[in-house]
Symmetry: C2
């Protein structure tokens, strides 16, 4: 469905439950919150399904919209969720009845009955912005979570997914809100624990493939040593992508013994999505991920081999 | 002078020399290069005075415009230069004959015969963009250095000086050019030397004033230990501003034995410009600097006292 069709369809709904994805980021949370507020401004009953994995970074944007216990939705909407496997545990019961998915992942599995997908959007928030524009006024209460959604998914306008449209939407949103505190909190603040962990990851980084591929690791032991919270670790995978001379930054994070989350950030030479797809994951060409079973060493060997395979092809 | 008056005045000039400031950053270099190209597109002879302190980061934007030896200008223009003291050594001979200064520093000393100043601009590049729009087409050769000017001075749209106008100009420029390689090089690349130096600065940081003020130091010895180039050190002063819980990040850099460059990045509580002014420096409220004589310890004591004084007031 295009933007107008999606807006028209949304007008027909009431008692709406909006879902966010596992390990929720700014885009899924901000887009869902903005959409929820817009539906409420239209007089509809709308909630977000509470996401148990929400971090302190994004909690304030989502919590005001958590569904009360016992809320029975008529319609379920998913935002920024590319596949049913990315639904949190408490959302799995809705996997078969998602009426609409608004997404920007080209790898979207098509699990929802209706889909509004624009892979050229830097964030699902860009699509949600366009939809809301056709529904109701973009108030400050809508503009703030939308700014969070868009700014976080494009690295505050640094990533290659940023377009002229991304900047124009940001300009429109900034007419409604002061984003300086948000920018400071999201992009220019690091906890002392995080700074210390980054130092260790840099000291221990490994280079491969003629120093073009860098691997950084976050074993459980490192997290325990620093008593790191989830917020301390959030987006740590962007660190590997900074190393000069490399164009493929791999971060391995031990989620629990035997389970490793792999994140890949890459330049044009390497298709991160294709590499992660070989391990059952997905994402975008320049930023993708996969979760695998095995030790850190096994995960490292697997993703290095996958990167090599897609790069040769 | 306003934008139109400045554009009209520029049309009357020929044989123009454009000056950039000491320790040239993206804004002074990018703004000067864009203006120089625009004047050339108008059929004028125009050059940049070579800046001996240019780093590898910005050299490619400036070098094509360096004045040939023996070029005698009819008119001299300064871009992003708040005071004659910020002129490089080889530009001092022009200090008394700057016909026009285009600047966004509220502290501009008014040394030029004409001034086009807009303190609400995130970068001098925003003003130069508006002026060029009245002169000639914004071609890719103009858009690229202007994007560098604007993006670097607002921390790629993260700093509090970023406005809706900043984003709108970025959108216009991005219609002309692909900025992904520039963003990667300027904002998402760190040399291994820089990463190692950052780790050391973090490990050695000191906290003051109930942990609200953080001090980081770059002594000459640290630079020598890592064989760091100027490009490795560039913008290292932004690191101190990241530490969670602090709202005043002070970086002390030993330029040579007995001379220390102080940089202050601050939140609303602290007026960085007022603090640095007490030590003979200047800048913006949230980002300012001063160069002082003395040891690192003396410079630290002086700026901590200055910050305390302006914060009490």
């Amino acid at each position: 469905m295009n933007i107008s069709e999606t807006a028209q369809y949304l007008k027909t709904l009431d008692r709406v439950l909006i879902l966010t994805h596992v390990r929720p980021d700014g885009d899924t949370v901000g887009s869902a919150a903005a959409l929820c507020q817009a539906l409420r401004d239209l007089g509809r009953e709308a909630y977000l399904l509470d996401n148990p994995e929400i971090t302190a970074t994004y909690a304030a944007y989502a919590e005001p919209y958590w569904a009360t216990e016992g809320f029975t939705p008529d319609s379920v909407i998913a935002v920024d969720i590319a596949a049913p496997g990315l639904l949190p545990e408490n959302a799995k019961i809705y996997a078969d009845r998602v009426e609409l998915c608004i997404d920007h992942h080209p790898s979207n599995s098509g699990y929802a009955r209706r889909i509004c997908l624009d892979a050229s959007a830097a964030a699902a928030g860009e699509i949600v912005y366009a939809v809301i524009r056709e529904l109701t006024a973009v108030t400050p209460a809508i503009a703030l979570p939308l700014y969070v959604a868009i700014a976080t998914d494009c690295g505050c306008f640094q990533y290659a997914n940023t377009t002229a449209r991304t900047h124009r939407i940001a300009a429109e949103l900034m007419e409604q809100i002061d984003v300086s505190a948000v920018n400071k909190a999201l992009f220019r603040t690091k906890s002392k624990v995080r700074l210390a962990m980054e130092s260790r990851m840099v000291a221990d980084m490994e280079l491969y493939d003629n120093d073009r591929v860098v691997v950084m690791q976050i074993p459980l032991s490192l997290r325990q040593e620093y008593h790191a919270t989830e917020a301390d670790i959030e987006e740590l995978s962007s660190l590997a992508a900074l190393v000069e001379g490399t164009d493929c930054g791999i971060t391995l994070r031990e989620l629990k013994p035997g389970t490793v989350k792999i994140s890949v950030r890459s330049g044009p030479r390497v298709d991160a999505c294709a590499a992660c797809a070989l391990l059952g994951g997905g994402g975008h060409r320049a930023a993708a991920g996969a979760t695998v079973e095995g030790t850190m060493a096994q995960a490292k060997a697997a993703i290095l081999q996958a990167v090599e395979r897609v790069t040769e092809a």
